[in-house]
């Protein structure tokens, strides 16, 4: 499996941090942008991105491809996405196993699907068409979900594995999403990570979420919790050297706090490497 080379430790690029990033050049290896926020005619977002892109690798992460929707693929959207990719030259382009609406409506959310043979064939076919159109392999992410369906015929990780192999796409493993969904639906998050094809995983997402006791919601407004750090360590041991990053989308802390989280990733990875070196010796 040919994969793009790992980029190191990255951060979701958000406007609140533009100036500090440009002025202080913090120790961040790469940035992930929300593609839709830059699918614009011009202005500050594109100008900031251009300056940051001059010095850092960037990947594009979308939220509106609606890969699982039964509406036709939106080629106006895909054309804009492709134009942005030509401008940004990202290391890769990603989106989610989710749908955002049908009948021409968009709910601006990553909505769940039943994991059925029909859903699988549908998503695989759409990923293949998107890859043909974009002329690049797509990176596809597992979404957080709050409901699961009696119609499902397979587990989520079985769906992800078969989807990735049949569509020949790459994977973005959102470790926080694995944890949130496993909590909400009662599956083993370690089994999920062990069940996805590690050779196709090119990126990890790490983020915080809200604990509502009976369910957890993927809010990206909290620090990464201990359980998710533990799961990250397992994912790292299983998938090896994969680009990893922190997503923060609300309740923004000083940038230094996010840099501390990146350092935590580096420390975990260094410890794993040391252990592996010792056991090899």
């Amino acid at each position: 499996m040919e994969k793009p080379p790992p980029l190191g430790y990255g951060l979701g690029l958000r406007p609140i941090y533009y100036e500090e990033i440009l002025s202080s050049r913090p120790p961040i290896d790469w940035f992930e942008i929300i593609s839709e926020n830059y699918m614009l005619a011009g202005g500050r977002p594109l100008a900031m991105l251009e300056r940051i892109r001059a010095d850092y690798p960037v990947v594009m992460h979308g939220v509106s491809m609606s890969l699982a929707s039964t509406d036709p693929l939106n080629f106006d959207y895909l054309r804009q996405l492709k134009a942005l990719a030509e401008r940004v030259q990202p290391a890769w382009v990603s989106d989610h196993i989710a749908w955002t609406g049908v009948h021409g409506v968009t709910l601006h959310d990553l909505l769940p699907i039943p994991y059925t043979r029909e859903s699988l064939a549908h998503v695989v076919e759409r990923i293949q068409r998107v890859q043909d159109f974009l002329k690049r392999r797509l990176v596809v992410e597992n979404a957080s979900t709050y409901v699961s369906f009696v119609d499902s015929e397979m587990s989520e990780h079985e769906f992800v594995r078969e989807m990735a192999e049949r569509a020949d796409c790459l994977l973005l493993l959102d470790v926080n999403n694995v944890f949130v969904s496993s909590f909400n639906h009662g599956f083993d998050p370690v089994a999920f990570i062990d069940g996805v094809p590690a050779e196709r995983v090119v990126q990890f997402h790490m983020a915080g979420h809200t604990n509502n006791e009976t369910h957890r919601v993927d809010t990206h407004d909290q620090p990464v919790c201990d359980e998710v750090w533990a799961l990250y360590e397992h994912a790292r041991r299983r998938c090896g050297d994969v680009s990893a990053m922190i997503e923060r989308d609300d309740n923004y802390p000083p940038l230094a706090e996010l840099l501390d989280e990146l350092q935590n990733m580096r420390d975990i990875d260094a410890r794993i490497l040391k252990e592996q070196a010792l056991s090899a010796a």
């Binding site: 699918m39 202005g43 609406g101 909505l111 699907i113 409901v147 369906f149 499902s152 909590f183």
Partner: protein, 279 residues
């Protein structure tokens, strides 16, 4: 259930919000291993949808919230979400239809001050991410012979929007976004008084200022491509009680200083025969 039918049902229930009609969908949900009620879990999507869209409107319309007050603003947003579900994959465009919705909706169209504010704020949002151009300075005029000045025409930044508003809209907006915002911003009185404003982008930020009536006319005509000399001959300037060329030159100078102008050219004779619309 086929995937398409499932998605239709799910979307219908998200759009409508929680209620009795959720039952067919709730039957499709697996029970929560943590004891969460299925209604609670479905409501994460139902409530999240409305919160998300309301947040888009709030971000783009601080002035509208300020003059309407929270209760009326929230009612407006609810109406808009109910009647104008988003159809663009990019959330950026969800709010763009709000002023038109208000003008066409019986509950809101008579609130001309609110519609005026909505139009002004849409222009501010549109200016922020419109196409990039590079403004030119007044020095650009030095390259033209004095004999050509009457035939000079100007190209304006694509972010520039000219607005006719209810008097007081611009002041109310300024108060609403002020860092020392008062507890309540007075809604402009909905009388016959109007004001004019220009909205554009400079240095990556949306900018605005009020225009005197004659400057509004001159800027409108200049943006329509009419030549400097033709605009000077316009009735509005002849009746202004001032020496038209000097008054217009002051305006022209400020357009350069404000970064509104991106190009200057000499109009050919066949173009200068066009008569400005307000002359």
């Amino acid at each position: 259930m086929k995937l398409a039918d499932f998605q239709s049902l799910f979307q219908q229930r998200v759009l409508a919000g929680s209620g009795e009609a959720d039952k067919p969908l709730l039957k499709k949900l697996r029970p929560s291993p943590r004891g969460a009620a299925p209604e609670t879990l479905l409501d994460v999507y139902q409530t999240g949808y409305r919160i998300r869209l309301a947040d888009f409107v709030s971000q783009d319309h601080p002035g509208l919230r300020a003059i309407l007050g929270d209760e009326a603003f929230d009612a407006l947003v609810d109406d808009y979400i109910d009647q104008c579900p988003s159809r663009d994959p990019n959330a950026r465009w969800f709010t763009t239809g709000l002023p038109d919705f208000m003008r066409e909706n019986a509950r809101w169209r008579d609130d001309v001050a609110a519609v005026s504010m909505a139009l002004f704020e849409r222009a501010m949002v549109d200016a922020f991410d419109s196409a990039d151009e590079t403004p030119v300075t007044v020095q650009a005029l030095a390259g033209f012979a004095p004999d050509d000045w009457a035939r000079l025409a100007f190209e304006f930044d694509p972010s520039l929007t000219l607005l006719e508003l209810v008097a007081g809209t611009v002041e109310a907006y300024g108060a609403a976004i002020s860092e020392e915002a008062p507890a309540k911003v007075d809604k402009p009185a909905a009388g016959d008084q109007i004001e004019y404003a220009a909205v554009w982008r400079v240095d990556h930020e949306s900018a605005y200022r009020q225009l005197e009536p004659d400057e509004y006319v001159a800027l409108s005509e200049a943006r329509a491509g009419h030549a400097f000399g033709d605009i000077c001959q316009m009735t509005a300037f002849q009746q202004a009680g001032e020496i038209a060329p000097e008054r217009l030159a002051q305006s022209l100078s400020s357009w350069f200083e404000d970064g509104m102008i991106i190009g200057v050219r000499v109009r050919e004779d066949d173009q200068s025969s066009n008569t400005p619309s307000s002359a």
